[in-house]
């Protein structure tokens, strides 16, 4: 089994879901989460706070530098992600299709390196 990260991408300027829309998304995502947990392929996952809550740390130099905001001025960022186990990419893509429909967002699928 390979672990895949299914990350949900948020694009700057897109309207944030609110009210009933948000309730619907939560319900859909909960149902997907229950399904993958029951299937025993759930590794980890969750939604992230908005991009404004990001802090960047750079300890590559002599002194660590801590700055407000993301590392690069990005027009899109990860809003949340799942890490799931799948036997191959086809299985991971099927999960991603369900995940994308549940969270109503674009999902990027990326394999983890083998241990």
């Amino acid at each position: 089994m390979t672990q895949y990260m299914l990350s949900v991408h948020t694009v700057a300027g897109e309207a944030e879901p609110t009210g009933e829309e948000l309730q619907r998304l939560y319900a859909q995502v909960d149902a997907f989460n229950k399904k993958v947990t029951d299937a025993g392929i759930w590794v980890f996952g969750g939604g992230l706070e908005p991009i404004e809550a990001t802090t960047t740390v750079d300890a590559t130099g002599t002194e660590p530098i801590i700055t407000d905001g993301p590392f690069a001025e990005a027009k899109e960022w990860i809003g949340g992600f799942w890490i799931l186990e799948a036997p191959d990419l086809d299985a991971a893509l099927k999960l991603a299709i369900e995940a994308s429909a549940a969270c109503e967002g674009r999902v990027e699928v990326r394999p983890f390196q083998p241990e």
Binding site: T2, P87, D88, D90
Partner: protein
């Protein structure tokens, strides 16, 4: 007497089978490719003296497998990763397997996987199944060898890292995935049939390879009518290849010497179209093949059954709506109801970046006796194509106004 040319032809024909079976056995595309190349060297050394073995594909697979095992054993001392691979090696002899079990089918679906970039799908298919070399593929698509080499390497790395499966898709996923495979083969064919640029108007190597791979696919999936449809479409189109050019100038269908069309390709293509009609599960390739069947069945251009062609394009338009299909329908309508009706349909289409839209307008405007407008339309078509034979034809038409 076995020449290097014979060996090269056999190797190319057997390449897909050899590599596909080695990939299944060793689980690694690079190992399979390297071993196949070594087996070719061995064949070049031995076959001229010993003669071609009765089952050259089997010989190449067995030899390549031995080479791969040798290499894995050598490297296993250095690299623990290969030690694991060496454990799974068996010495099962090369057995001809049934179509469903044919490893080439797995390989086609891996090479044409939607998670790979479209240009990488084409390149990988030609490399692994077609046995074309990287320089050959690079020159066919007019990119540098370095670029093509990187494209293929990147695709192979993604297959390994993302674990793109080496498997024929499940029945419920097959139609969707198969359409991706057919699209790759048709793209290879079209690039060969009407090269988008470059000195050669037709690249026979690409059209022949697309037909060959489509035949392989048909032998593996004999009950899929769209596979038969695509093969028929390619054959009926290719049958007219030599008639399409005279002295480096494009010859349009109506003016072609029908006696120089390839009768065996037409016969095979027509038989496939009849087979599709009997199955009655129409698809986009089958309908386009049917259009070509109508053209190739007409004894003279004047005998063409344009109403049948218009019906087929209407059906195609409802299945896969596109302005290009609508343009082809409008051409049939112009033949049936006159150039004014045809032009009205053509002018409704948003195809200003497509050279054949302008070329079609030019021909209809000529028939409507509007030489000034026709001239501008020929100019617009010329500005949008780099194919030399087409350019010469369009220039000649413009200058004859």
């Amino acid at each position: 007497m076995t020449t290097d040319l014979d060996i090269e032809r056999i190797f190319r024909e057997e390449h897909g089978r050899v590599v596909a079976s080695l990939i299944r056995r060793f689980g690694d595309i690079d190992i399979a490719e390297d071993a196949a190349a070594e087996a070719l060297l061995a064949a070049v050394e031995r076959w001229p003296a010993d003669g071609v073995p009765p089952n050259p594909g089997g010989w190449l697979t067995t030899t390549a497998a031995r080479k791969a095992i040798d290499k894995i054993r050598r490297e296993s001392h250095r690299d623990a990763k290969y030690q694991q691979a060496a454990m799974i090696i068996d010495d099962t002899p090369h057995e001809p397997t049934g179509p469903v079990e044919d490893d080439r089918l797995r390989l086609i679906f891996t090479c044409c996987h939607p998670a790979l970039a479209p240009e990488a799908r084409v390149a990988l298919t030609l490399r692994l199944l077609g046995g074309l070399t990287v320089p050959e593929i690079a020159s066919a698509f007019l990119v540098s060898e370095t670029t093509m080499g990187q494209r293929i390497t990147r695709a192979k790395k993604k297959i390994a890292a993302a674990r793109i499966p080496y498997r024929v898709p499940a029945a419920e996923d097959l139609p969707g995935r198969l359409s991706g495979v057919l699209a790759v083969l048709y793209l290879v064919f079209n690039e060969g049939y009407l090269a988008t640029s470059g000195p050669a108007p037709v690249r026979v190597d690409l059209t022949a390879e697309a037909i060959r791979l489509c035949r392989v696919l048909r032998s593996l999936l004999p009950t899929e009518p769209e596979v038969a449809g695509l093969l028929a479409l390619m054959l009926l189109t290719d049958a007219r290849r030599t008639a399409r050019f005279a002295g480096g100038v494009l010859v349009p269908l109506a003016d072609q010497d029908r006696a120089s069309w390839d009768p065996s390709e037409i016969e095979e293509g027509l038989a496939l179209v009849r087979e599709c009609l009997a199955v009655n599960r129409p698809g986009a390739y089958q309908l386009q093949a049917a259009v070509n069947a109508v053209h190739t069945s007409a004894r003279t251009a004047a005998d063409t059954d344009w109403s049948q062609i218009a019906v087929l394009y209407t059906q195609l338009q409802s299945m896969t709506p596109s302005p290009v299909v609508a343009l082809n329908r409008a051409i049939a309508v112009a033949e049936l109801d006159g150039p004014a009706v045809g032009l009205a349909e053509v002018d409704r289409l948003e195809l200003a970046t497509y050279h054949l839209w302008h070329a079609t307008r030019a021909e209809l405007l000529r028939r409507l006796d509007r030489p000034h407008d026709a001239r501008s339309a020929y100019d617009a078509a010329l500005a949008l194509t780099d194919n030399e034979a087409e350019r010469r034809y369009l220039t000649r038409r413009r200058d004859s106004l």
